[in-house]
């Protein structure tokens, strides 16, 4: 199947600003799905609210565009009630980790088979550029006009601590790596978290004088490095890319099937 067969052309043009990284993430995701040869009928995409969440409208899967921060909770209901479906949940950084932070850590703790993608542009874009939990200390935003004193989460460390059994990071610049990571994340049986650094030139870039979309992608290239690289040892400020955790643990729906078996025997 060609990439365009996964898209609902009827609903284009999309709402993303010129230079936004989210279209690149969507492209990488669809290439990953295409490479797996998955049927569109077996995929459910659940999203919350924000720029990233609009992905669900543009792809030809079963799509559930929910409320801010709650995508993983809705997805948990879909998955547990019909475990044979593949759940993909794209979220923004504010969506996943501020208003949705509780759902994020608990979905990870349960190790339910959902692929969570955190599209991290370090800003609330749809509302016009307020700081997010990933903006970081010292950044500028419309709600931090004197500079931001909130510290950022490290999404990867948070996901690992919460119990996610697949945790990875890539960027909208490293599209081939991103597509491969997303493919591995979908194949992984358990809760997968993929953080994708995705540029917002319109708000984060402009407020923080980071230049054009191309400049911001250039920074992703220069500021990141493969996990455990020599460059990281020499420059600890570099952000690592790649798969941090990939381990086998009992998956939630499989475990629940055992509960059903136990309960039915007792009858």
């Amino acid at each position: 199947m060609a990439i365009k067969d996964y898209i609902r052309e009827r609903f284009f043009p999309h709402i993303w600003c010129p230079g936004c990284g989210h279209g690149t993430v969507m492209n990488s995701l669809l290439r990953a799905i295409e490479s797996l040869g998955m049927s569109k009928n077996e995929i459910v995409m659940v999203s919350g609210i924000g720029c990233s969440s609009r992905i669900s409208g543009y792809v030809d899967f079963h799509t559930l565009h929910t409320i801010h921060g709650r995508a993983l909770a809705f997805a948990t209901g879909v998955k547990l009630s019909r475990p044979e479906l593949n759940l993909i949940v794209p979220m923004g950084d504010g969506d996943a980790l501020a208003i949705g932070g509780n759902h994020f850590i608990h979905a990870a703790r349960r190790n339910i088979d959902i692929t969570a993608i955190v599209m991290n542009n370090r800003i609330y874009g749809m509302t016009g550029g307020q700081f997010s939990p990933l903006s970081g200390y010292g950044t500028m935003a419309t709600t931090a006009p004197y500079s931001n004193i909130d510290h950022a989460f490290d999404t990867v460390e948070l996901a690992i601590a919460a119990g996610a059994t697949f945790v990875a990071r890539s960027t909208s610049y490293h599209v081939k790596q991103l597509s491969k990571i997303l493919r591995d994340a979908i194949l992984h049986e358990g809760f997968s978290v993929v953080e994708v650094l995705s540029q917002c030139p319109t708000y984060f870039g402009r407020k923080n004088r980071l230049g054009s979309a191309v400049d911001m992608m250039e920074q992703y290239k220069n500021d990141t490095t493969p996990i455990g690289s020599k460059a990281k040892k020499e420059n600890p400020d570099l952000i690592e890319r790649g798969i941090f955790v990939q381990k086998e643990m009992p998956e939630y729906c499989v475990e629940y099937d055992k509960i059903i078996e136990k309960a039915m025997k007792g009858n």
Partner: protein, 382 residues
């Protein structure tokens, strides 16, 4: 036959009703006084191959049941005041996206954490207007365990018929009191199954294009029709739209599908109303005390009757107006500051003849409390 007779709590009667109605998925979070519903379902659902999940909060519980409903299952959650407050956001989503689901609120005293182990009926208006924006909602209640069972089944039937969330507004006394329940045999109460689309694979399916009768056939997530579901105003494809005509038509549809069917949705019981000069109106556990008063005074020659409301929303305007037409006075018996009272006053011809007999102190309203108010109303002194 004997195994069909049980001595149970109201919360258990609700569980029995939900299982009878075909409940397949429950998500919840512990909260007094509704917790027994979650506990029992964690035990019962897997026995029939169905699923229970304890979520991280009530927001997540409400969200999870919406997700599970979309895969074609009958779903429910249960909570009390503080949890019901947290559910309002996703409840509005279920209204907008037209998701069949049942939400039980076993009421306790509020606001806030309030008085968790004591009774109240203070969430009547929250059930109506707790979530933001114009909308219609269905809310049912019951005063005894047989009716808790019946209204729970009715709740599932209404949810499926109208593609709407249905709130079951019970209270602490009903939830925790024990009494007899006879579980009807299979088939005794008709069940409404989900209306699914007859559109074949490859043919355009419009998930949000109502039929002439206002109903919208569904397609389960995972089946051959792929479509979008959103909490935004949306067109017949389920795709977001801010077209004024689309917005207008959708809000009208959401309100009309309930309000145009008030008579079908209205459940009530009437006792000695034919010649009643004094009309009591009550619901939930307080209707038990109201009925006690009626049955006490009738043999003494007092022309008194009771209208027990089981459907609180949409409010049965016509039924209440007609019932009160010839009454000298109407007394609304409830355990709040007069939430149904104001509805009754809104619909009757002479609002000044409507009085309130209430308790708001966490203590169950007694027949004596009601009689004291009645004596005042009737000018007999205290």
């Amino acid at each position: 036959m004997k195994e069909n007779i049980k001595f149970v709590q109201g919360n258990e009667a609700c569980v029995e009703g939900a299982l009878y109605a075909g409940l397949e998925f429950f998500a919840g979070y512990p909260i007094t006084p509704s917790t027994e519903i979650a506990e029992l379902l964690s035990y019962r659902l897997p026995q029939k191959g169905c699923r229970f999940i304890q979520m991280e909060d009530e927001i997540a519980s409400m969200s999870a049941i919406i997700g599970a409903s979309l895969t074609g299952h009958k779903v429910m959650t249960a909570t009390s005041g503080p949890g019901f407050s947290l559910m309002q956001e996703a409840l509005g989503y279920a209204v907008m996206a037209e998701i069949p689901c049942v939400i039980v609120n076993v009421q306790r005293g509020g606001p806030s954490t309030g008085i968790p182990t004591h009774v109240s009926q203070g969430d009547v208006n929250q059930a109506r207007w707790g979530t933001h924006g114009d909308h219609a909602i269905v809310t049912l209640t019951a005063s005894n365990h047989q009716d808790v069972f019946a209204m729970t089944v009715e709740g599932f039937n209404i949810a499926e018929t109208y593609r709407t969330p249905v709130i079951l507004l019970f209270d602490e006394v009903i939830g925790h009191m024990r009494e007899r329940l006879v579980v009807p045999v299979e088939g005794e109460i008709p069940l409404v199954q989900r209306l699914r689309t007859a559109v074949n694979e490859g043919v355009d399916y419009h998930p949000y294009l109502p039929r002439e009768d206002g109903r919208l056939p569904m397609s389960d997530f995972g089946d051959v029709h792929r479509y979008n579901v959103t909490g935004l105003f949306h067109d017949m494809w389920g795709f977001p739209s801010d077209n004024p005509q689309v917005v207008h038509d959708l809000i009208r549809h959401l309100v009309d599908k309930i309000n145009n069917n008030v008579n079908q949705i209205t459940n009530f019981k009437s006792y000695y109303l034919d010649d009643a000069e004094s009309v009591l109106i009550s619901y939930g556990s307080s209707a038990r005390s109201a009925l006690h008063v009626v049955e006490l005074l009738r043999p003494r020659g007092e022309r008194i009757g009771l209208l027990e409301l089981q459907t609180l929303w949409p409010f049965p305007d016509q039924l209440v107006r007609r019932t009160c037409e010839h009454a000298k006075h109407v007394i609304v018996v409830e355990m709040n500051m007069g939430q149904v009272l104001q509805e009754v006053r809104r619909v009757v011809d002479q609002p000044r003849k409507v009085f309130l007999a209430n308790r708001i102190d966490g203590v169950f309203i007694t027949p004596r409390d009601i009689r004291n108010i009645m004596r005042l109303v009737q000018g007999k002194g205290v």
